[in-house]
């Protein structure tokens, strides 16, 4: 054995051990915020969560002030936000899911051609566009030219543009995991191209596609910035797509800007976080069940 080795073993083992502790410490610091955030929101937010929280629209600032002054919980809830979020997310899904699926299949089917590769790169660029810019775009396109005013439709368009690249990429990636042999088997049986897509590609990759859609939904549910520029917010429950509507994250922003409503922000944030995270977990559990051959 080399003579110089013996004296450095102890030192090297020490450095090795120290580095390991450093790695563990860094990892602990990384996950501490999640416990702090969840804990903080749960402790301060649970009191306002009751039936009225889901069925009543947001109170006005005067009601909130009176309640706070007499030490009661603030009346009202987030019903206008819930319905607004639901309306816009449904509308956005209606636009983005079919378009995203078809484009994803197109890119997968033509993956080697220059045009398809270009579409794929464009999708990657779109995915990186900050959401606030999509708010500007929906403002310029819809608010100024179609609904002539802030509207649920404008909010949906901004959310749909956000969802699109997510769905296109997940569709393509999911389908690429399908063994070529399965496609070839379908063609060997004389299956026409479109039937191969409807009867083989989509059913085989269904849970992967569902995961992609759920993850995209969990992304847009918490989005605030583009909605500030498009849907604006509304104190009442509304289902008119040409009129302003509220959304849960928009309500949080409104509550945050009103010192009388602080306790409602905690509850609304708790609810939003809980909802988005459960959607996220659902997506992941669907993904973990999804395996090929």
């Amino acid at each position: 054995m080399h003579p110089e080795l013996t004296d450095n073993i102890a030192r090297r083992n020490r450095t090795n051990g120290r580095f390991r502790y450093l790695v563990i410490a860094g990892s602990v610091i990384t996950v501490v915020p999640i416990f702090l955030i969840v804990g903080n929101l749960a402790i301060k937010g649970y009191r306002q969560i009751n039936l009225a929280f889901f069925t009543k629209p947001a109170p006005d600032t005067f009601q909130a002030m009176m309640a706070a002054a007499s030490g009661e919980i603030i009346p009202g809830g987030i019903a206008n936000g819930l319905t607004g979020s639901l309306l816009m997310v449904l509308l956005a899904s209606f636009i983005a899911i079919p378009l995203g699926l078809m484009t994803g299949i197109f890119v997968y089917e033509n993956g080697t051609r220059r045009y398809a590769r270009f579409i794929r790169s464009l999708t990657e660029i779109l995915q990186g566009v900050p959401s606030i810019i999509l708010g500007i775009i929906a403002y310029l396109w819809v608010v100024k030219n179609i609904t002539r005013g802030y509207s649920a439709l404008a909010g949906s368009v901004s959310l749909a543009i956000m969802m699109l690249p997510l769905i296109i990429r997940s569709t393509e990636e999911t389908m690429r995991m399908i063994p070529i042999a399965i496609r070839e088997a379908a063609f060997a049986l004389g299956t026409p191209y479109y039937k191969m897509i409807y009867k083989i590609l989509i059913p085989v990759s269904f849970s992967g596609l569902a995961t992609g859609v759920l993850l995209a939904l969990s992304r847009i549910l918490g989005e605030t910035a583009p909605l500030m520029l498009t849907a604006l917010g509304s104190p009442a429950v509304s289902f008119d797509v040409t009129r302003p509507v509220s959304a849960v994250p928009l309500l949080i922003w409104d509550f945050y800007n009103d010192p009388n409503m602080v306790s409602l922000v905690w509850s609304a944030s708790l609810f939003l976080m809980f909802f988005v995270l459960s959607m996220n977990l659902l997506a992941r559990s669907v993904a973990s069940k999804h395996k090929y051959i």
Binding site: I24, I34, I125, V129, P130, Y194, L272
Partner: protein, 283 residues
């Protein structure tokens, strides 16, 4: 075979809408920004002035570019040690164990929390802490925003780095172990050299996310339309000035805000493209 032709045409048309969407975004931003650039020329980019008073209107994006770059870089600096150790924990030290998958899910959860919740939490929980340290009077400013931004981008950098670290061939690591290297030595002499470009790319992509983050930053940076004078001084980022002022803007100011948006779009597109390019080279 008309079913085939219809299907193929449908798929092609939907891909065209993406093309139109991409072109439309760029053209609309350019179109909306034209009045501002016609009025101020390239001075718009290098001037820190932001004066909406009618009659003496003057707009420049420099304060916001500075605010965006400073907060994002600072967030990246804070994020690097956290993401680096977490990715080593997941993909190297505890790779394949339950502990690793629990940590991975926790990091994923961190990515799932909405931006506005981060902002609100930073406002009520983190800001008082900073005030208590005496470093800042009100707790608003570049540092607070960067700290929360760092927590927000850690999951992106971590999951990508971890994926790349776990792709380093086991055979190479085993060769180094069999020569008597310690784990730390294997990490620094084999794992990092093989995964270097991928790890760098994951941090570049995390930076891309930080540049465009809006709500949390808007709630914490203090919203002062000046170049930040220090780490604890208030400022404004490109995204946060749009979020704050777009609603009441019209005319030249609206155009100036769209121009800020255009610049933000270009910066994030360049940073993201760079990250993706490095990743593609790596794979």
């Amino acid at each position: 075979m008309s079913g085939d032709r219809i299907t193929k045409a449908l798929l092609f048309i939907s891909s065209l809408t993406i093309l139109l969407l991409g072109a439309g975004i760029v053209l609309s931003l350019f179109g909306g920004a034209i009045p501002a650039f016609r009025e101020f020329g390239l001075k718009f980019i290098v001037s820190p002035a932001w004066n909406p008073t009618t009659g003496s209107e003057e707009y420049g994006a420099l304060s916001f570019i500075a605010g965006t770059v400073i907060t994002s870089i600072l967030a990246l600096i804070i994020c690097i040690p956290m993401a680096f150790s977490t990715s080593l924990f997941i993909a190297e030290y505890y790779n394949g164990t339950r502990t690793s998958s629990i940590l991975r899910s926790l990091v994923d959860l961190l990515a799932g929390i909405p931006s506005i919740v981060y902002g609100f939490w930073g406002f009520y929980a983190l800001r008082p802490l900073l005030v208590a340290t005496g470093l800042s009077d009100q707790g608003f400013g570049v540092f607070t925003a960067s700290l929360v931004l760092a927590i927000m981008i850690v999951p992106y950098a971590t999951s990508l780095s971890a994926e790349i670290i776990s792709m380093v061939p086991a055979e190479l690591k085993e060769a180094a172990y069999s020569l008597g290297a310690t784990r730390r030595e294997v990490i620094f002499s084999v794992v990092i050299p093989s995964a270097r470009s991928g790890i760098i790319a994951s941090f570049i992509l995390a930076l891309g996310r930080a540049l465009g983050e809006t709500m949390a930053v808007t709630m914490l940076i203090g919203n002062a339309n000046v170049i930040p004078k220090g780490l604890f001084a208030p400022g404004n980022t490109m995204a946060s000035v749009i979020a704050n002022q777009f609603g009441e803007a019209s005319g030249l100011k609206l155009s100036a805000l769209i121009a800020v948006g255009l610049l933000l779009f270009l910066i994030t597109a360049i940073v993201n493209a760079l990250g993706k390019l490095i990743i593609k080279r790596f794979a």
